[in-house]
């Protein structure tokens, strides 16, 4: 059936690690001298995307941050993505958000997708709160009309009415975060990818945020992918967890407790 929100088939993301002569490792994208030699040797080949991927010096080693991922996510689900450090959570979120391009496989997304990987992406310190609501909303994929419509709600949720025309560089960090989250909470995207750093502020505001996310899925059929280290938050929000280990799916289950137990049982990754 074609009723999925996200379908991922055989998805993989490869990074390259460069071994230095002294035994150290560094991310191996390219080195100036090599690039210039390659460019001079075959300038046209250098311009093609394929050539970059096929070019592989002997000192480089491939590292698969994600490998052979297959899963389907349906509208209305609240999914927790969990795993130890280095399990590939961030890479998965970035790949689904299309910030990084996959090395293998394909994915299909139905519905607009917004990725909230940090607080206040694209906030500009020199702009006022009002201006930043519009800018940030647009960066997160909202139409201008939609922002204008929800403007009052956003302001009310954040509680920074009095400082709307002050540049956000003069905001306290709490005000900044609340304003940023309020914009995110009022997005009209169908699929939200949320990093736990977004559940910020004091306890009260955190609870308010989680409640809001829950409402979005139950009342408006939104889909949420939530990444967190905090079992409590996963338990209170998610109805299904995907446990990652070494870039692969270890478990994909609606039994949230079982998934959390499995994750905690693992030895921490190096």
């Amino acid at each position: 059936m074609d009723n999925f929100a996200i379908r991922v088939e055989n998805l993989g993301k490869k990074y390259r690690i460069h071994h230095l002569p002294n035994g150290q490792k560094m991310p191996g994208y390219s080195r100036v001298n090599e690039d210039i030699t390659r460019m001079l040797k075959s300038p046209f080949k250098f311009l093609s995307k394929k050539a970059h991927e096929e070019h592989k010096p002997e000192t480089d080693e491939d590292f698969w941050a994600l490998k052979d991922l297959d899963f389907t996510i349906y509208p209305g689900e609240r999914i927790g993505v969990i795993g130890r450090n280095g399990a590939g959570k961030s890479t998965l979120l970035k790949t689904l958000s299309r910030i990084v391009t996959p090395s293998t496989g394909r994915m299909t997304i139905q519905g607009r997708l917004a990725s909230l990987l940090e607080v206040g992406t694209g906030f500009h310190p020199e702009l006022t709160g009002r201006e930043n609501i519009f800018l940030n909303g647009s960066i997160l994929g909202m139409a201008r009309k939609e922002i204008s419509k929800k403007f009052d709600q956003i302001v009310e949720f954040s509680g920074v009415e009095r400082f709307l025309d002050t540049p956000v560089k003069r905001y306290s960090s709490g005000m900044y975060v609340r304003l940023a989250f309020s914009v995110a909470a009022h997005l009209d995207s169908e699929i939200l990818i949320v990093d736990e750093v977004l559940a910020v502020g004091d306890k009260e505001f955190q609870a308010k945020s989680l409640k809001k996310m829950r409402e979005l899925t139950q009342e408006e059929d939104r889909t949420i992918l939530f990444v967190s280290h905090d079992s409590e938050k996963i338990r209170s929000l998610c109805g299904r967890v995907i446990v990652l280990k070494g870039g692969r799916v270890l478990t994909d289950t609606t039994d949230v407790d079982a998934g959390l137990t499995l994750m905690e049982a693992q030895t921490p990754a190096k």
């Binding site: 994208y29 995307k49 910030i99 992406t121 020199e126 702009l127 519009f134 800018l135 609870a207």
Partner: protein, 295 residues
Amino acid sequence: MPEIETSDPDIDYSQRPLPERYKGHRVDVDAAKYQMVPWAEIWRFRELFGFLAWRDFIVRYKQTAVGIGWSLLQPLLMMIVMTIVFGYFAGLAEGSTVPYAVMVFSGVIVWQFFSQGLTNVAMSMTNNNAIVAKIYFPRLILPASSLLVNLVDFAISMLLLVVLMIGYDVAFTWRLFCLVPLLLLAATLSFGVGTLVAALNVRYRDFKHILPFVVQIGLYITPVGFSSDKVPDAWRFVYSLNPMVGVVDGFRWAILDSATLYWPGLWISIILTLGICYIGIRFFRSSESWFADII
């Protein structure tokens, strides 16, 4: 953790039909597919394009006393200095059939448009690294929107040009309409060179230091403060291999009735510009996949 309602009715989400609101927003990402300019995608993000340009515009003169007046003062001061230095100290104004100030100014406005556009485009990726690393959008939007801001500056300098032309009693002719395609040529050139440098700058920040230097040299090898008629005929063709020569000469020809145009120079400029723009966009696009990883 405050208690939250956790009871969830057992819904089998996989059996429900696709809700109405999800329809019409399908995106396929295939690791094996590649398109040079993703037009449809860019069109979908057109509002973001506008917002980014708007942001660049209002941020630029925040906390300045003169504000947008800088867009007026910069070309004006540059024109005055160049007219005095090149026109009178160096004596290049002798025998000039046109008002030297207007001749210099017509070069200054297009040079400023090109060089500032080039700098903005080239730095657009690294200046916006926070967004690039966290949000998806067709990356070509960033260099394009940073070029748009320069159009405002250009419009302001055009007003000044009209004032100068009236002041020096320069006739307005039909040739002024040619400024539009010539401006487009300058924009294409700065976009082409800019995207190339922008992509390289993500990898090697050396370009941040190289670029101002190159722009500075460019000012001297381009006929901004003097007319390219001063270049010996034998060297005219070689001199025109700098694509900005054709653009600046074209601007002068369009503004000043008595100026002549070296047509081969303009053709060289058009061909080189198209070639550079192709290479720039191509390189930018082929590098795009790792921008977010290393920016």
